[in-house]
Every structure is written in C-alpha cells, then in structure tokens.
C-alpha cells in the first residue's frame, strides 16, 4: 500500500489543465456588467432540478420550455433566445449557487424555473439586488408573493394555500362530508395547505374531525396515522403529499382498507405526474384539486397535449404547463417592453391582461401570482394507464383563496 507515490507534478497536471480558464477575469469591476449581449437577443437561465428527488419535475419543465421554443422559432417576444440550464439540485445550497452562477458567470437576463420554495425565498434578495426578472414556474410558498414580495419575482404556478382552499370550498359546498380528517407532513408546504383547506372548509360550514402532521422526509410507514384516521370516526380525509410520500400514502391508504370507507381528497400533487403511474390502481377514485389536468377539454390544451406527446412521447403535467405559460408570459412582456432588464419587464407584466391562450384555461396575474380556475379531478383508469378526469370546476381565485 505504501508503494505508489503520487507526485505533486502529476496531480497538478491532472487538475491544472481543467482549472476553469473561465474563472479568470477580475472581480474588482464595479457591480454586475451585461446589457444582455447584442440587440434582439435574450439569455434565459432555466433553473431546474437535474439531480435528486425533484429531477422528474425538472424533466417536465425543460420539455415544455424546449417545446415552446421549438414552436416559436427559438424566439421569445421577438428576441432570439439562448437558454442556459442551471441545476437547482435538492437543497437551497445548490440552488442558490446555481442562481449565482447564472447571474454572475453566465450573465443571464431573465431567470425561469425553481421548484423548491426554500430556494426561491433564498434567492429573492440576490435576484432583487441584481434587478433581473425571475419567473417562478413551480415554487408554491405563500410568502413568495406575500410577505417576501419583490417586483422582480413573478410566478406562473400557484400558492399552496390556494390549491388546498379550492378543495375546501368544494367539499363544503357538497355538504354531507362533515368530519374531515386533515393530514399533511410537518413542513412549510404541508402547513400552508392544511391551513388553506381548513380555513376554506370551516368558513363554508364544514367541521374538522382531527388533524395530524407526520414527520416530513422520515415517514415511510403511515400505519400509526391511518389508525388515527380510522379511530377518529372521520367521514373523509383531506391530505397534502407529494413525490415519494404521495406514493407511499396512497398505496397504504388502500392497503389498510380505508379507501373504501373513508374517501380520500387532496391537493392535486397527490396524483400528478410520475406518482400516479407508481400508485396505479390504488389511486382510483381519489379526488383532488389542481389548476390543470391533461384531460382538460379546451382547444389550447388539446393542441398542447398533442404537440407534447409527439415531441416527447409523454403526457404533460402541471409542471410542464407552468413552464409553458412562463414562456408565453415572457413572450408577451418582451413584446411590450422591448427590453430585457428587470424593471421594464416587471412593469410590462403588471400591465398584462388576462392570459387567454393557456392550456389551463384563462388566467391573469393577481399580486404577481396567477388568479385561476381550479378543477376537481378524479382518478380513473384510461386504457393501460390512469388519468385525472375533470368532474367539476371552480371560479377563478387569487392567492387569498
């Protein structure tokens, strides 16, 4: 083991050559440079997770972005687009670093994306200080357009409270489901969804039979909580889960026989995208609220789904639509502002009227986040797979639910 001596020279040779020549320059210049390159061009930084648990969402987002550019000749708002992809990763440590790289090293004019709410909140100051526009295409924390609002952060997705409140209102109107048990994991998004649902449900006259918060990220076995639901005598369950937790909860809900006696309702992420194929038959009959489903029956969606399927051999998800709309909204803003800096674009976004060509139906900005219709969807078998079919629609609501 002591035989091989690695010389300093050999080691330096290996690393030295790869030392980023792009790292050379000087940091002493005043502030950030860039006027976005030549006229008529815009550099967009697409911040999506390429590794870790959120990677499937990043895939959907990139597909939608690429599709939009494909169908519009690589131009947004008349400007030619160069896309630089930044890897948000799994935690804000990598997310903040990715955004810093896009802003400082790649000189992007506009940023689009961001899945994790913690990352979005974490880069708020960075983006605001550099006066560039960030179009958030997923992160759902209420605070992003609430207490932490900034003129440079606009959102084309949703707020956690808004999505859950839609189901709360729907259940209250239905009546006959008094005594709902609320279960959501113990983290910010879960708390916001739980609060959103409970506020809307109780103001519509419903009663809550109980609530519990399973630990976030460390719960694989939901038996203790399922037993609690059963012994509470609840008539229905409302839940908020996403990703692996959604798969585990839905499957175990069926395995423990609750699915037949206590109907399950939830925020749409419970059955959206890859998790639905993993859940399979266990998800049939679950009703969720979300601002999109691939089964929507409007002409823009039909076109969108057909094009998406042809290009990527997959069905679009809500994450795809949010990014598609971000591209569409950026297109309108650039066309109106004719400039790529954050101030001009922010003003232009504020003057946009209703967005009427979106696959999710008509929506508009309200407080820098969408005011949109929600759909109550039910999981059904369709051919070999499963889909979320629309069974009801709600009126357009803003972020206050």
């Amino acid at each position: 083991m002591s035989g091989m001596v690695i010389t300093r020279r050999r080691l330096l040779g290996m690393f030295g050559a790869t030392a980023a020549l792009s790292a050379c320059g000087s940091s002493l210049g005043g502030g950030s440079s860039s006027d976005g390159g030549e006229q008529g061009a815009v550099k967009v930084g697409l911040v999506i997770p390429q590794a870790g648990v959120y990677a499937p969402l990043g895939v959907d987002m990139k597909r939608a972005w690429d599709l939009w550019l494909d169908r519009h000749g690589g131009k947004v708002g008349g400007f030619t687009v160069t896309t630089v992809v930044g890897d948000e990763g799994e935690t804000p440590q990598t997310g903040v670093a990715a955004v810093q790289r896009l802003l400082q090293s790649d000189d992007c004019d506009v940023l689009v994306g961001i899945v994790s709410s913690a990352t979005a909140l974490g880069v708020r100051d960075l983006v605001t200080e550099s006066k560039k526009l960030l179009l958030i295409a997923n992160a759902g924390a209420n605070d992003i357009t609430g207490t932490a609002i900034s003129p440079y952060l606009w959102r084309t997705s949703f707020t956690n409270g808004q999505v859950a409140a839609a189901m709360g209102r729907h259940l209250a109107e239905q009546g006959g489901t008094d005594g709902v048990f609320v279960i959501a994991p113990d983290y910010a998004a879960g708390a916001e969804a739980s609060a959103g649902f409970q506020d809307a449900f109780t103001s519509g006259g419903g009663t809550i039979a109980g609530a519990v918060k399973p630990p976030f990220g460390t719960t694989q076995d939901y038996q203790p909580f399922l037993s609690q639901i059963r012994s509470s005598g609840a008539k229905a369950t409302f839940c908020f889960f996403a990703g692996a937790e959604a798969v585990a909860f839905v499957k175990q809900y069926r395995q423990f026989g609750l699915a037949d006696s206590v109907p399950l309702y939830g925020s749409g992420f419970l059955t959206e995208g890859g998790v639905l194929s993993a859940q399979g038959a266990a998800a049939v009959g679950i009703q969720t609220s979300l601002h999109y489903t691939s089964e929507l029956d409007n002409e823009h969606n039909k076109e969108f789904v057909a094009a998406y399927q042809k290009a990527h051999d997959a069905v679009p998800t809500v994450y795809s639509v949010q990014t598609w709309d971000a591209a569409g909204v950026l297109d309108r803003a650039l066309r109106s502002a004719k400039a790529t800096d954050g101030d001009a674009l922010s003003t232009a976004l504020g003057k946009l009227g209703p967005i009427d060509d979106s696959p999710r139906g008509e929506w508009s900005f309200d407080g820098q986040t969408p005011k949109q219709k929600f759909y109550i969807r039910e999981v059904e078998q369709k051919g070999d797979g499963f889909v979320n079919s629309v069974i009801a629609e709600t009126d357009a609501v803003g972020q206050d639910g």
Binding site: R9, Q50, Q100, R101, R124, F216
Partner: protein, 309 residues
C-alpha cells in the same frame, strides 16, 4: 521537503488566496468564498477526527447552530460585523458543550452513531422550531453584514471579509494543534490508556477539543449566514456532515490545510462538475473517496514531491 519550502509554499498559498479577487471572475470569487467557509468547517472537523481521533458525523450541527444564530441576530438585532459572527461562535461552542459531555464518553463507532443522532436531533429542532428558525423554508432574507455602516455586497469585498475571518479561525485551530495541548491530543489519538496512565485527564481534554471544534464550526456557520444570506435545515444535516468528513479524509485527516483543500475539491465537484455530469457529482466524489482511501492514506497532505534519485 526542504525547510525553506515548508515556509515558502504555505506563504505563496496564503498570498494567492488573499489576492484571488484580483484575477478571478466574480462567480469564481464567490465559489472560492464558499470553499473557504466549508474549509473552515472541515478544518475544525479535522481537529476532532485527525488530531484527536474522534470521527464525528454530526459536526454540521454546530455549524448550523452558529449559522442560524448569526442569521437571527443579523435580522433582529444588528448586522454590524463582527457581532453576528461572535454570536455564531459562542452559539456553536455552547451547543457543543451541551452535547459534548455525552458524546465523548463513547468510542469508535458508537461515537460515530451518537454524533449522527445528535446532528439529526438538532436538525429536527431547526426544521420544527418555526418562529425562530423559519422551519423548513429556513432563515431567508438575512441582511448583508455591514462594515462601518456600509453593507458588504460586492463579491470581492465579501470575499475579503470571509477570507479575513477564515484566517482568524484557521489560526485558532493551528495554534491549538501546535500547543502542548495539541500534542497531548495527538497522544490521546495514538494511545489513550497510556496517556491516562501518564496522568492526563483524557476525558476532560477530549471534551475541551470538542468544544473548541464546535466553536470554530459555529464561526464558520456565521460566515455561511454572511455569505449565503440563507440558512436552511439542510445546512445542519447528515449530508453536510458527511461531506465535511469526506473533505477531511480527502485532505488527510491529520492536516488542517489538507482539510481545506479537501473542502475545496468537494465544493468544486458539487457545484461546478455536478451540473456538467447531469447531477451525478456524488459519483465522482465516491470514486475520489475510494481512490484516496486506497492510494493516499494520508490524503492530499501526504503527497510528497519526488526525490531526486
């Protein structure tokens, strides 16, 4: 290595680090600042692992505690340097003192697992104590640190601030290692029963170094809050602690500067190489790790220049 080289090489390295913003682009400077923060954490862990022989998988807890303390202090009391940093160091030390007395009674793998448990408990506290730590979204919007009233936001100025504090923290660790206390710690690593037989209060010494390492880790955490202006539970958890341990081993457990080099490599792979590898940075880290354990038992610090034959 010749005596002259032993002085010249470190001097050149320090000078290069000090002058980095002059010849590096802004993003590279920011990345280097990030490496320095992580390097200080890794160096404090090297004091525990390499010098004293206590492999801790929960060291990030003190790093995170310091970061949260500095962030909270900057948000609610004052962002004027050096107060948030002092608060961070003290917090790191206090949390280390509170948990260390139970940890140092364990040995080997038990110490490893117990520190893992402590780290995870502290992380859970950060995740659930929402009023103070901001819960799972963390502490965001931390104001920039102010020097003489002016906020430090320019990448070069921020780098120099981080570098200065890094130098202070590193100096503290270096002094501990070079002192008679440090020599006694080496002795405890090599043969604890013998040291006890010689009359040294080994338990007390181990507790002491645990608290010192925790204090410096807390200081590094304060730097994180200053540099990243965001603290989340992820900064406290097992992943950060494991990365720090990786950095220490790659650098050579007994060497402080080696740990810093290891930290630089880890950050480089994660932030720069990771995206080009489709997010499979950990694969490179794993391979690097295995190679280091096999081929370079004393890590990067053990690389010798080829002798003329």
């Amino acid at each position: 290595m010749s005596r002259a080289a032993k002085v010249v090489v470190p001097a050149v390295a320090w000078l290069a680090l000090a002058g980095a913003p002059v010849f590096l682009a802004p993003y590279a400077t920011t990345t280097l600042a990030r490496m320095l923060v992580f390097g200080l954490l890794a160096a404090s862990l090297a004091l525990l692992v390499g010098v004293t022989g206590l492999p801790s998988l929960g060291h990030a807890a003190y790093f995170g505690a310091g970061a949260y303390a500095a962030g909270w202090f900057a948000q609610h009391v004052s962002a004027a340097a050096p107060y948030p940093l002092l608060v961070a160091a003290v917090t790191g030390g206090v949390v280390a003192a509170a948990t260390g007395w139970v940890a140092v009674r364990a040995r080997g793998v038990f110490f490893l697992v117990l520190t893992l448990a402590i780290g995870e408990i502290v992380r859970q506290v950060a995740e659930t104590w929402e009023p103070v730590t901001g819960g799972s979204n963390g502490l965001y919007g931390i104001p920039a640190t102010t020097l003489a009233g002016e906020p430090v936001v320019h990448p070069a100025l921020l780098y120099w601030f981080v570098f200065a504090v890094f130098a202070v923290g590193f100096a503290v660790l270096w002094l501990v290692v070079r002192s008679p206390y440090g020599t006694a710690l080496h002795g405890i690593h090599d043969n604890e029963p013998r040291m006890r037989a010689l009359g040294y209060p080994t338990g007390l010494y181990k507790y002491g170094v645990f608290v010192i390492a925790g204090t410096v880790a807390g200081l590094a955490g304060g730097l994180l809050a200053t540099q990243q202006r965001l603290v989340t539970p992820a900064d406290l958890g097992f992943t950060t602690a494991a990365l720090a341990l990786l950095a220490v081993i790659i650098g050579g457990a007994r060497s402080l500067w080696g740990a810093c080099v290891g930290a630089g490599l880890v950050i480089l792979v994660r932030d720069s190489l990771g995206p080009t590898l489709d997010g499979h940075g950990p694969l490179v880290l794993g391979v690097l790790f295995v190679l280091v354990v096999y081929l370079m038992p004393r890590g990067v610090a053990g690389i010798r220049p080829r002798r003329a034959s």
